[in-house]
Amino acid sequence: MALNPMALDLSGKKYANVAYEEKERLFDEVKADDRWHHVLYGCYECGICVAACPSARFYDFSPRVIAQAAAREDVDLMYTLMNDSVWDCSQCFSCDRCPRQNSPGQIITIMREVAVKNGLKTAKEALEGYGRIIYKIMSTGSQVSPDMLQPNAFPDWGGHVKEISDNLDVWRKALPPETLHTTETGWKITDKTIVELYLIWHMTGVMKLIEGVDEGLFMILVDVMEERLEEAGYDDISFD
């Protein structure tokens, strides 16, 4: 039988050249998260999470393996999973039905954050093509917008996407709620709201996370945000 190219390699060989100390440092970062003690209490290895997991049906992916590796503090395996597995998760939290009260999905959230914060190459790859979404949410406060409905962005949704994009302006104006006559954001958002959102990004250091995965995007966002903040009188704020 041919080897499945999508198979998850848990042998540890792939990352054998990464220093154990580095893997341990990342795992320590995961364990230092405030949520850690609420998401993992040990693992029965019962597999209930796998039975409920949508991603386990379509990928070589297992929330049980992640919970087990975390519970056993298997530093090497955690590193492999942080690179090659966590991005398959659908974040549906079906696995919250774990009888040990674990939340494998939340363990994964924390692992992803650490992967992003440390700029792992695999995190950058997983988020390739996702930059325009990050740009939208960070800069406008609304994640998807009507003008994203372009045929080249959603070719597998068929001809109706083209019909929407061809009629976008008129169809948006044909919406009775006045807040929905927008094309670049989901609804009309006040300038004050956006400025407050930028201040939140600034005060919580999330721009650093973005810098870690996509420097180009970071620079564009910083330009947009600093200009808007300056206009609003916050000329002393810098994201660098």
């Binding site: 995190a123 997983a126 009507p146 959102l197 999330v206």
Partner: protein, 396 residues
Amino acid sequence: MIHLPIVKAVDRKFEANPDEAPTEDIRDAVLQLEKEGEWIVPRVPEPYMEEKTKFGRIKKIPVEKTWHHKSCGQCGHIPGYSTSIFWLNRAFGLDYHDPMDQTSCTAWNYYASATSNPEAQAAVALRNFASAYKSGYFPVIHCGTSFGHYKEVRHALVHQPELRRKVKKIMEKLGMPMVMPEEIIHYSEWVLAMRKRIAERQVIDMSMITATVHPACHYHKLIEEDAIYDSEIYGAQRSAIITSTLKALGITVGDYSTWFDCCGFGFRHILVSRDFSRSFSVQRKIEVMIEEVNPDITITHDTGCVTTLDQSQFAGKAHGKKVGLPVLSDSQIAALAMGAHPYKVLQLHWHNTDNTRFLEKIGIDHEKMWAEFQVEADKIKRGEMPYLTWEDAEKK
């Protein structure tokens, strides 16, 4: 071997006793923190409605004075979803507020890319809650993910004083108070609680319709004890959300074996790993519904679920899969039952899967209705009117 009598699960009713609930009632902790001066807790405006949650606790649901926390995916890609929620409020003459001082919860991005952190997520939530408080209206959340995420934020803020301290500092800098509402309400809970009043005003008979229901993961799996349960619906073994509403409208709800499964949305998957979303949605949801129930329609109550279940069927069709099941939200079907226009209000032209057979079955002349919409759209195109107003959409 012991032989137990077989009682079909669906025939068994469970009545939960709140005194035996296995989890804390987080709302007590929220009120305690109010006493300690940690935050303001706006109360659900009276008169409110009451429904039971998983362990038999009472959840208060406001009738009006509601502040509508909109969903970016609904407003952006399926705008008839939110329009129908507002239409229902207007049809009952209820006082509501559709704010512009509102951001999305940003959780879609958080679950997709992890390019955020708990402080930022909590601050975004509290900024929106503070904005609602300032307006004097009570938040009702349109998106299932925002709803689940805000409940997680509430849980984290209650249990992590350090997070509270950090967020307090941010809110102070923004010049806004710390606000945590008495209840976190999803709009579909409002639709459910209003179901009898909706049914009283029903003008379209739907008794010949069979539907399947897809409950959103982030509605009933995240902080699960806060979801609505009812011993008359699935014997309270599962959440009554949507199903209760549909039954009140006279619709038959068919059960299927993958009810608990997610829709395949996956947050990052729907945007950049779409093969997964398409396959899961078609193979684990739509095909199973059609094979086991053969419904006229499927009804759900969240942004990602409507999008994924509806849009994925195009590729399924190309592969010769059993698809062709229209997907609507509970707000849309409730509005339709009360006589809302399928295009001016439900905005069904933004949906992908053909829904004309369903409309014909309930006696709606969709060609005539589409022509009516086109007349208005043409006026906008020619610059004869700037927008379609509520009055235009509501005129008979």
